[in-house]
Amino acid sequence: MSILQWIYGVLSFLGHDIGYALAYIIESIILVIFVSVMLIFMIYLFRKYMARVQQRIGPNRVGKFGSLQLIADALKLMGKEIIFPKERDDLPYKVAPFIVFFGLVLAFAFLPYGNLSIFGNLTVTYSDVSIIFIFAILAIMPIGEVLAGIGSHNKYALMGALRTVAKDVSFEVPMMLSVLAIVVMASARTPTSLSLESVVTTEILPYGILEPIGLLVFFIAMVARASYSPFDMGESDSELVSGYSTEYTGMRFALFYIGLFGTIFLGSLLIALLYIGGFNGPFSSQVGFIWLIVKGLILVLISFTIWLSMPRIRIDRLVNTGWKYLLPISFINLVLAGVLTLGLGW
């Protein structure tokens, strides 16, 4: 019983075809609303948490405890004059923020969310290769950032885009290799080891305990992917003004901003699912979804703490970290996973 069937059950009087079509549409809308609400909550959480870390109070003017601040900000950004640079490359410039945002929402559609009481399983889309799909989508998002950098026709934006490319290329490979190690280990227990859902449901111990190295590599790579300090190369606000998003205003800028927080949230959910048991936990057949969100939010807070306490690393050291340290380590991790699975039969 999944949420799709639950919605269909309500709509079944419309017949099979129309009922399922409507159920899918409603489910997609619920997903987009869920992602938006979570992101708004996350940005609010970030601003409050940052304020606590920095001995400030944070937003407290709009709504109770500043809870409506984000809505006020969004309205402000919508009302702003949209300024297009004169010498832009029109299509890439205009399309880029949407690639980032839609890539993000699409990736959320393939995550397994676990159960939530009467709604059953909340997973939106089932796929036997969801791991491949999620990471393929994650690889699309930087394309939006690069297009933004090139399309802006601005040297700061271009350099931000180049830094983004250098960063993403050097961390993509270690990230995929450490995920591959989990796929290898899961393959001993499930025939569909490329499906994130079956990887999580068939695990005996959380993979973070079996593969601490993989967890470390994946976490660092996700910091780089989400692009916050110490790896905020795309923005580099003290060097490149605002990196690839320098020339953006209004809602298009907001989409990049949301993309940053969305990637942090997505990365935290992925780490929670792959390494610390995801929706598994006590009473998980009833409240697996809550477990997942709680684990995700704890990881989000850890990410914020790193963000707020680290200076930016230099770009050449960043690339070195990716190729010279993380890549060999993740290879060793992959071999270890193979040995554990085939040799010891774990």
């Binding site: 400030r56 680290m310 200076p311 930016r312 690393i313 230099r314 770009i315």
Partner: protein, 368 residues
């Protein structure tokens, strides 16, 4: 044959240019090949304006030079102006000036310490530094009613005497600040990424530093033990015990450590100043308010003082009138900035930002 390098115009509107510095950079990828600082975007003609104001009026232009540590600028101007006019301040005023100037030095270094974190992409220490600076500004508010452009000192003394409340506030500050300072210090030096961004970056040798006229913490970080407070003591700096922190490394980290050690030494000076603060008048009776615009001076005098940025010199030529004939300022940051193209040759863009941050640029003083 066209130029193979990217020309990048950094500033004057740029998040890490500390005001309005403009840098014309030529980049080979991320590596800086040529760098040319362009200044003058904050020029306010302060030196010329000084010729049009009475001696007592001109102090406000000096407040607006190094606006993060304004009291040191006032000390610099008054050292020269009082010699010209022949109205030396009484002892109590001198001690008050020492205390206030050192508080101001700490305030200026705190701004630098916070902004340096921002230059390196570190958001949090900035707020810790400003929370502490706020306490100093509260003391200034108590002393003269204003926070930043204080205009506290006046010719022949200070504008208001220290009352018990100020002394209490300074004592509170002395009691709480050392712990907070260590906290801020640890936020930086216990961070490996910070060390990797500063250690061995932007090494300035002793010889180059001297030949470019670099002074202040930058010079002392390169291993030259030169501090005007020791070399040519003004006010009562010869009557207090303090050390000149020096380092021989000459890199960004050395400049960072020297400035933090200076703050600790300033605390020592303030403590001794409070102990030695005598009773008595706080201004010279010759410099009463009614006399202010009638004071005449003749001759020329060059006073040098140690501001938070380096050697701050004020040269006044007087022709016997009620206004100075010519005022000329030796700005330490201007000389220190001239080292930036030298240090930034063949370094990466990110390192150039780290180096320019470590110089401690304040544009009010460079452009005057």
């Amino acid at each position: 044959m066209s130029d193979p390098w990217i020309e990048l115009n950094i500033g004057p509107q740029h998040p890490s240019m500390h005001g309005v510095l403009r840098l014309k950079a030529k980049l080979d990828g991320e590596i800086i090949k040529e760098l040319e600082p362009v200044i003058g975007y904050l020029h306010r003609n302060a030196e010329k304006l000084c010729e049009m104001g009475y001696y007592c009026d001109n102090l406000v232009y000096f407040d607006r030079m190094d606006y993060v540590g304004a009291m040191n600028m006032e000390v610099g101007y008054l050292e020269a102006a009082e010699k010209i006019l022949g109205v030396p301040p009484p002892d109590r005023a001198k001690w008050i000036r020492v205390i206030i100037a050192e508080l101001s030095r700490i305030a200026a270094h705190l701004v630098w310490a916070g902004a340096y974190g921002l230059d390196l992409g570190m958001l949090t220490p900035f707020f810790y530094c400003f929370a502490e600076r706020e306490k100093i500004l509260t003391i200034f508010t108590e002393a003269c009613g204003s926070r930043q452009e204080t205009n506290y000192m006046s010719i022949g003394g200070v504008y208001q005497d220290f009352n018990d409340k100020i002394i209490e506030e300074i004592k509170d500050f002395l009691a709480t600040f050392p712990k907070k300072l260590e906290e801020i210090y640890n936020l930086y030096v216990k961070n490996d990424v910070f060390l990797s961004r500063t250690k061995g970056i932007g090494v300035l040798s002793k010889e180059v530093a001297i030949s470019y006229g670099v002074t202040g913490p930058m010079l002392r970080a390169s291993g030259v033990e030169y501090d005007v407070r020791k070399a040519e003591p003004y006010l009562f700096y010869d009557k207090v015990n303090f050390e000149i922190p020096i380092s021989h490394k000459g890199d960004n980290l050395a400049r960072f450590l020297v400035r933090f050690e200076e703050m600790r030494q300033s605390l020592k000076i303030i403590k001794q100043g409070l102990e030695k603060l005598p009773e008595g008048p706080y201004f010279n009776p010759k410099a009463k308010k009614s006399m202010m615009i009638r004071m005449r001076g003749e001759g020329e005098y060059y006073a040098r003082t140690e501001s938070s940025k380096g050697e701050f010199g004020v040269y006044i030529v007087a022709d016997g009138g009620v206004k100075p004939y010519r005022v000329r300022v030796r700005s330490p940051t201007f000389k220190n900035l001239s080292i930036l193209p030298v240090l930034s040759k063949d370094v990466m863009l990110a390192d150039m930002i780290a180096i320019s941050g470590s110089i401690d640029l304040v544009f009010g003083e460079i452009d005057r």
